[in-house]
């Protein structure tokens, strides 16, 4: 069995649900009513009211999920809309650790839920001062409370005040000093109304990420633009195409100035799978060979070389990706669990990983499930 009992599974893509008092416990008194807080909303006769977030008077339904696409409003009631309808491991770090133990998982990097995976909900904020305090409150919660419950097992990832690039850089340095290990960043800022990777706008962020040696984790969907072919297409089309967002992000960055100007920047493609990588690199190199001469792209470094210097990916059950791992680079692959989403194999993630990695040599398995993540995210053994 290539996955040995002593290998510690580290997941580079899990999620947490914010506890109800995350912001009210941390914001100054004058902001407590405007900042995110849980309120009840009627859900229909005979049903307990839903618990929803209220942020500056805007209502954001579902504490933990917004799986509305492809569902009629009548079906929304099937999903948890109250904390007491969720498994406690969603929002309670001690319960999370027990669930990780049951699952054979040692460590987990957790993305936000209500703030969206890269904190982009705070771009909606009318009061920028409040929005900044909300970002800082989430980061402080993750570092001081969630991850402090089990240092070395719960891995701190932080979000940024994306409307202010200098504040982003300051927040990276502030949280790095407190122990943060990774930064969640939009896979593409443009659909969010922000400048693209093809400008120098984000340079202070990339410089701060290099200086603090923290990867930028681009979770698919964080651009706010899900792949859709037609309004009436079943949601299965979108789910099938989710990884194309990671392909967009990779191609966008490979042909941008970012990686040339920031040679130590690390990019994680979160939840995007890995099987597509060899194809995309072949295609990008071919494009570069034929079409670089008349375009404003770097003329000396092949995209595949840049990819291998800067990127890493992760997978849950990408058997094809595991099969073509040497075309991706074994050092560039990490494992993910995706708890507490139903995509995860909890409580048998370890058994499933062992099955997917059954034909992989032990030393490569160890890199994929543990050592690569320790190296990329600076996690000592």
């Amino acid at each position: 069995m290539p996955l040995q009992p002593w290998m510690k599974l580290l997941s580079t893509d899990d999620h947490l649900i914010e506890p109800p008092r995350l912001w009210t416990d941390r914001l100054p008194a004058k902001y407590r009513d405007l900042g995110p807080r849980i309120v009840e909303q009627a859900r229909g006769e005979g049903q307990a009211p839903a618990e929803v977030w209220n942020y500056e008077g805007r209502i954001y339904p579902y504490i933990g999920l917004n799986a509305v696409a492809g569902k009629s409003p009548e079906e929304f009631g099937l999903e948890p809309t109250r904390y007491d309808e969720m498994i406690p491991g969603c929002y309670d770090p001690k319960a999370r650790l027990r669930d990780m133990d049951l699952d054979g998982v040692w460590g987990a990097l957790c993305f936000p839920s209500f703030p969206r995976f890269a904190g982009t909900v705070f771009l909606d904020g009318q009061d920028r001062r409040l929005a900044l305090l909300c970002v800082q409150a989430w980061n402080d919660f993750v570092i001081d409370e969630w991850c402090a419950t089990a240092p070395g097992r719960l891995i701190p990832l932080v979000i940024l005040p994306l409307w202010d690039v200098d504040a982003c850089a300051a927040e990276i340095r502030r949280t790095a000093a407190k122990g943060a290990k990774a930064i969640s960043f939009p896979e593409n800022p443009v659909p969010l109304g922000l400048p693209s990777f093809h400008t120098d706008h984000w340079d202070p962020v990339f410089t701060a990420a290099e200086e603090t040696d923290m990867p930028l984790c681009l979770h698919f969907g964080t651009s706010g633009a899900a792949p859709r072919t037609a309004p009436e297409a079943p949601f299965a089309v979108t789910i099938t195409l989710f990884a194309t967002n990671s392909m967009y992000a990779a191609a966008d960055l490979l042909f941008s100035p970012v990686l040339h100007n920031h040679p130590r920047l690390k990019i994680g493609l979160s939840e995007g799978g890995i099987g597509w990588i060899p194809y995309l690199l072949e295609r990008a190199d071919g494009t570069w060979e034929r079409h670089r001469f008349y375009q404003n792209v770097n003329q000396t470094v092949r995209p595949s070389e840049l990819f291998h210097q800067h990127f890493h990916g992760c997978f849950i059950d990408d058997r094809f990706g595991v099969e073509v791992r040497h075309h991706i680079g074994v050092d560039k692959i990490t494992w993910e669990c995706d708890y507490p989403h139903s995509d995860s194999y909890w409580p048998k993630s370890r058994a499933y990983a062992a099955e997917v990695l059954a034909d992989v040599p032990d030393d490569e398995v160890h890199k994929i499930v543990e050592l690569n993540t320790r190296r990329l995210y600076n996690l000592p053994a």
């Binding site: 999620h15 649900i17 008077g57 805007r58 209502i59 954001y60 339904p61 579902y62 933990g64 999920l65 917004n66 799986a67 509305v68 696409a69 999903e79 948890p80 007491d84 309808e85 969720m86 498994i87 406690p88 969603c90 027990r98 669930d99 133990d101 049951l102 839920s113 969206r116 995976f117 890269a118 982009t120 979770h219 698919f220 969907g221 964080t222 651009s223 706010g224 899900a226 949601f235 979108t238 789910i239 989710f242 939840e271 708890y339 507490p340 989403h341 139903s342 995509d343 995860s344 909890w346 409580p347 048998k348």
Partner: protein, 69 residues
């Protein structure tokens, strides 16, 4: 005040949270498999037996916690 956010802007569209019922069902299934594996073990598999026993207890505790609330 809007009743719902702009769901099309959300990146939660892949967020299909494991429900208590689903989690309970998964735990019950794993408990059944663990019990079966324990029954298949021979007398000389004491180390494996102990590991599975510990896992079985933990699975049952977790299932009980989800079932009582």
């Amino acid at each position: 005040m809007s009743r719902r956010p702009e769901s099309e802007r959300s990146d939660w569209t892949d967020l299909d949270l494991l429900t208590r019922d689903e989690a309970y069902g998964r735990l019950q299934e794993e408990i059944g498999l663990t019990v079966s594996r324990l029954a298949e073990l021979g007398a000389d598999d004491s180390a494996e037996h102990e590991l599975l026993d510990t896992r079985l207890r933990a699975l049952r505790e977790a299932a009980e916690d989800l079932n009582v609330q």
